[in-house]
């Protein structure tokens, strides 16, 4: 697949708009995750992922909103289903679970997705499926969990070259900015030290992400995507809590207007 930059930029905006519409009925939710990761999901679902062949792991289950939005945009799920997001009895639970559609595996308990992604890649190797790629969405806060580094060491040791991590480095976790809680830098050097190739890039440059996803690899690869939980939505207040954004009706209306106008440009 050739990355088509205008198309991918448009897909990222469309993901933001769908996320706003999913969160708006509740008035709050995991919108910041979709705003920071929109380009990563646009690049994977719009330019790299081959349905039926490749695998996607969504490690932080809170991000599944972005996967739902991307899947609705690319025809993988019925867009009507998005209206049930987070509602009682819905299969589209707000924190992804076993029954969540779209990703092959979604973790609600943070820090566990990379182990599953590595397991998928090992299974593909054991069972002779060299064509399959595994894309794992992770977040920077998860790097505090020791299991991520167990998995990184494991994947590095086995040189799982069909495994690509998209790390949403949005510097946001529940208690505040990640760098105010623990120092996770230097992130790229850590992954390289564990036997990975690492690229450190502007996570809102969707063309750059798509280009990185198209590169050949001999080792597992991590794309450290530097992002903001308010990106692409200038109407949000500067102090919005990126982990759990409040979106009262008037703000939701403004957000929808802003993103709709952006799509019409």
């Amino acid at each position: 697949m050739q990355p088509d930059s205008p198309g991918l930029r448009r897909l990222a905006t469309a993901i933001r708009l769908r996320a706003v519409r999913m969160v708006a009925p509740q008035g709050f939710g995991y919108l910041g995750q979709a705003l920071s990761a929109a380009e990563q999901y646009a690049a994977v679902y719009g330019a790299a992922y081959r349905p039926g062949t490749d695998r996607v792991v969504c490690s932080p289950g809170h991000y599944v909103i972005a996967a739902y939005a991307a899947a609705a945009e690319t025809g993988l799920i019925d867009e009507a289903a998005l209206a049930s997001y987070g509602q009682n009895g819905s299969a589209l639970e707000a924190i992804g679970t076993e029954r969540s559609p779209v990703p092959d595996y979604t973790c609600g308990s943070l820090g566990q997705g990379l182990s599953a992604a590595a397991g998928f890649a090992v299974a593909d190797r054991l069972q002779g499926r060299p064509e399959v790629r595994t894309f794992a969405f992770l977040s920077d806060g998860e790097l505090q969990e020791g299991q991520v580094w167990e998995a990184a060491m494991f994947a590095g040791h086995y040189a799982l070259d069909r495994l690509t991590v998209l790390l949403d480095a949005n510097n946001s976790q529940v208690d505040g900015p990640v760098d105010s809680i623990t120092t996770i830098e230097p992130v790229a050097a850590k992954w390289r030290a564990f036997g990975w190739d690492a690229a450190d890039l502007d996570g809102h440059d969707v063309a750059a992400i798509a280009t990185e996803l198209g590169m050949a690899a001999t080792r597992p690869r991590v794309l450290i995507c530097r992002t903001s939980t308010r990106h692409g939505l200038s109407c949000l207040p500067p102090d919005a809590d990126g982990h759990f954004i409040k979106l009262p009706a008037d703000l939701a209306e403004a957000a929808i207007a802003e993103l709709t106008a952006e799509l019409a440009r």
Binding site: Y105, S109, Q112, A116, G119, F120, L126, Q147
Partner: protein, 341 residues
Amino acid sequence: MERQRVLSPPYRTVVKPYGQALVELARHRPEIVCLTGDLTRQCEIDLFQAEFPDRFIHAGMAEANMIGVAGALARQGLMPFVHSFGVFTTRRPLDQIVNAVAYPRLPVRIVGFMPGISSPGGPSHQAIEDLALMRALPNMTVIDVADATETAQAVAAIADIPGPVYLRLKRGEIPVIFPDDHRISLDRAQLLTDALESDVALLASGMMVAPALATATTLNASGVAVTVVNVPVIKPLDTTTVLAAAGASQVVITAENHSIIGGLGSAVAETLAEAGLGRPLRRIGLQDTFAEGALTAQYLFAKYGLTVQHLVDTAWSALDCPGTPPSAHPPAGRADEYSPV
């Protein structure tokens, strides 16, 4: 209810019955893969590694990741057998077992060696609550087998369980309590003594089956009738047999090499209470205490109340028998034999 034949103590011992059985099973089950957390020889899977190196995965000392990898392998149609000591396969990666294995109900076989205070290695190495942790998880089957015959048979028996299994195994020299023609049952707890009707129903699992049998021998000689029931499957518990044995006896005693909280004793207590079957119940096991490091397991079994004499004394007092309880004299075996303490 058919009585299962047992051999007489001291029991002959064998080594690596699990490791051999897994190799045999893997010969005709190509989906089996074997994971180890840096305890390969101790978990008897050096045999598997030698036979099937391509299906053997070193996860290193990283149990959380090992469980996560195993879950993903199972999603792809493989059947992972995951190995470490019981403390490290349950306590340490509990959240991973919940989310990556139990909740998605995947056929991961979690094998935990060195149960309870069979390890003299102190609380860090003594799995005294592994059964409780695993029993609390929906979808999980929990097994604690008594001897080498059942160990070997359990490997094949669990292969076709659709969901996850926790298999708890003694490490090292494994006694042979059941004859070759014995057949393990995952559905039915098994009667090991002549009659269901008795004074004491003694329900035992794992390493406490041998002491339970010796207890019956001692008490029978003093005129106390004992029914011994082997309960290798802690969950799902065979409540039918538990209630039948309890209903035909005056008192019920459970015996497990585990905390009395959350394992066999708790499962039996719940069963009796929910059935409205009133029987005095005594639970032999770790009495809500951590143990300690020591030189030998025998010392710990004596100190923490898991000996034949403890069982005899407990039955004696539960039945309000007069006088001093009889002394238990489990036969002392040679160094290569096994006899309960």
